[in-house]
Symmetry: C2
Subunit: 454 residues, 2 copies
């Protein structure tokens, strides 16, 4: 087998299409419903928010969708991304497992998010959009959209959760470096924000409030649309470049199909991007990987949530989505993996999980940071807190392989670096980081407020 | 010619040796002198500080020095690095110039520094060193050495200039994540630090003080040695992997030799790493690039310094080095390119400059940040403040090419990303960054304190 540390492809190996898993699934995913009528949502219901091409992708039954040349041209700035064999980590663990990680932290924004930010900005630009609005929590998505908008000459306006805005000023500066405007949310620029501030002038904000502000701002101005960084089908679709490249890299390395694929899930797009092309192989009977999602114990959507129709946002403004949810007004404890603090889950991944095609585990954050530090000291790369969850599960499995002397092939998604998360590392290294206990009654209470759908 | 955005090599293309320019130069560089006797320094004078292999490399007359397998194995984590064609920047500038940049920001520490940190840690490990000490200013070097020591099981102890330690806590956390101990300097752990604190308990520290502390700590403990991140011959030697790869990438792209090579210079190792292999081609008559160093106007060593023997540190403890210097106790104004705030210059580059084989310009920092923002919005990557100096000179040249309709080939060293420098970007974007005027009498005064050598 291949002796390389990393498998690198050339620009001509960037996938030419995105992969849509929907036509390959044994049953179609339940449609989103209009919150008032409970009828399935149609393209016209979304036309104020998204450009036509993205709405078509959101509802597409086509297996493959061509990637436009203008998008490929930007992907070339960092794609294909390397597939690493974690030889040093394997040695440190004394495991016979072969551990591979697909690294997305080399993108300009330092994560997988530009994979969808770029096509979203592109399709908006050809549809006459002049300005995109969005929300961001820790800032990974906002900075990625800022970068993408700079590439296509769009204005970008980001509502950033006020608590993060105060704690992570450097992410806001990164967005401004790429030309975006950044507002702490709640802001007085929208009615949604002003209403919150009227009640609580010191509100720390929430992702739900920021979504409401960005959506309102998109509706209120001409040639302005809204962009979302996870959860939706078209976002997951764009991320499938990751898994398609990984498949080619496994072939180039002469490695067999992975026995286990592990990734962290918040909205679900990063892990879906890696595993959906492998799920295609599994559904076609050409491989049989276990697919394991890792979520924070403080926000255990798959492992302790309910599969039901719920709102995508805290304020209850979005269509109803059939998904694993902890209740749309569930507020997760402040774990440092901000990208995993979402009450719901991608409806597509929820469907796949419900079909029994994948499994899930939940991890407390100190175990994840311990894994991240072990990874950094062996492999060099300092991971973001989100993929640290996946690494905790990988290291757990690799140790099991050592105990049972089993030669498994493990693949994980290292979706971003942790250069903007050093305050969290400092807390961990100084012994001051806490895990959170999540009492069942908090989940139960939030679930009672999920709307009833027949 | 090649249509690619980036030229990527495989692991088998990592250079197998470092290139030593000394035997190819028309005259040998003047030797370092013992500060007391003014006699040339011999290997025995350095044996307390460095392991035998590094001392041999420091004084070597061999053209090529093999890279050990253990070092290559770590280089594989991020090498070869990509060579980019800056197509988007070219379009934005409307220039007929073809702009290439060699990007070193994909290393674990985010800069070129691990290229030498790794072999330094390795050679120490095989010489029985158990602990390495060093100083760091902004933290690029300290974090790179921390990473390298983690790879070879060495303890790492870093004295970080107190002002930076307070302003840039995240760099110290990065070092600790890789297992290093970090002390703000001046510290009470050394006599050198304690002496400073006795006079001024609130001393902000300086690189000179931090060097004294790290050197003293290395001498005081068993199996402990010291490591330096720039200036010395063996450091420049290790960086030549950059230029050797770039030569191979130019050939792979079917591109002619560059007409101009541009890089920033503080101690000189990053730019030397890129251009020395091209200088070999120039000296052999196979190419004729202009080689242009860019330094901060606040620390204009080449352009306003004197070529003379001077101390490498502020305290006057090191051997005397023949170099361009502003005087060993010259304190540059606090420009954000911390890596370029050094009073002296690599003796080897100083010699090459004195021979007329390269030229230099100085740039004020706002012009550099303007260039960095223009680069980020077109090419995506947010540069560190140091290579922003090189980009300012590249953009200046590309605009000249546009005016004169000249199709030049430009190559520059993008030696690191700016993810840890967002406070400086914030200052620039908010319009609050200042340039500094450097009065000639400050240089003249510092130069009067340079020791007289016959």
């Amino acid at each position: 087998m291949d002796e390389r540390t990393k498998i690198v492809l050339g620009e001509s190996d960037i996938p030419r299409h995105w992969y849509n898993v929907v036509p390959d699934l044994p049953a179609p995913p339940p449609p989103p419903l209009h919150p008032a009528t409970h009828n399935p949502v149609g393209p016209q219901d979304l036309s104020g928010l998204f450009p036509p091409e993205l709405i078509a992708q959101e509802m597409s039954a086509d297996r493959y969708i061509d990637i436009p040349d203008a998008v490929l041209d930007v992907y070339r700035l960092w794609r294909p991304t390397p597939l690493y064999r974690a030889r040093r980590l394997e040695r440190a663990l004394g495991t016979p497992a072969r551990i591979y990680y697909k690294y997305e932290g080399g993108s300009p924004a330092g994560s997988h998010k530009p994979n969808t930010a770029v096509p979203q900005a592109y399709y908006n630009s050809i549809a006459g959009t002049e300005r995109l609005t969005t929300e961001t929590g820790a800032g990974q998505w906002g900075s990625s959209l800022a970068f993408a908008c700079a590439q296509f000459g769009l204005d970008c306006e980001v509502w950033m959760v006020r608590a993060s805005y105060a704690q992570k000023p450097h992410r806001a500066t990164l967005m401004r470096t790429w030309g975006a405007k950044v507002h702490p949310s709640p802001s007085s620029l929208t009615a949604a924000g002003a209403n919150v501030l009227a009640v609580d002038p010191d509100s720390p904000g929430s992702l739900g409030i920021a979504i409401s502000e960005a959506v309102e701002a998109a509706g209120a101005a001409p040639n302005t649309r809204y962009a979302l960084g996870s959860v939706l089908n078209h976002v997951l679709l764009h991320q499938t470049v990751i898994g398609q490249e990984a498949l080619a890299q496994f072939a180039a390395a002469g490695e067999r199909a992975p026995d286990l694929i592990v990734g962290c899930t918040g909205g679900g797009s990063n892990f879906a991007g890696l595993f959906l092309p492998f799920l295609r192989e599994k559904l076609a009977g050409r491989a049989d990987p276990v697919i394991r999602a890792v979520e924070p114990a403080a926000c255990p959507t798959f492992t302790r949530g309910e599969y039901t129709y719920d709102f995508g946002d805290a304020g209850g403004l979005t269509p109803l989505l059939k998904m694993y949810t902890l209740g749309h007004d569930f507020i997760p404890d402040p774990v440092h993996a901000g990208g995993l603090r979402y009450h719901g889950m991608s409806p597509l991944l929820s469907h796949i999980y419900h079909l029994g095609l994948m499994e899930a585990v939940a991890k407390p954050q100190r175990e994840c940071f311990a894994a991240a530090v072990e990874f950094a000291r062996t492999e060099g790369i300092v991971p973001a807190p989100e993929p640290a969850h996946a690494l905790a599960a990988v290291i757990e499995e690799a140790r099991r392989c050592a105990e049972s002397d089993t030669e498994k092939v493990l693949l994980t998604a290292l979706c971003g670096h942790g250069h903007f998360d050093m305050a969290a590392y400092d807390l961990y290294l100084s012994g001051e980081m806490t895990d959170f206990e999540l009492a069942q009654d908090r989940i139960d209470a939030a679930l009672t407020r999920v709307p009833a759908v027949d």
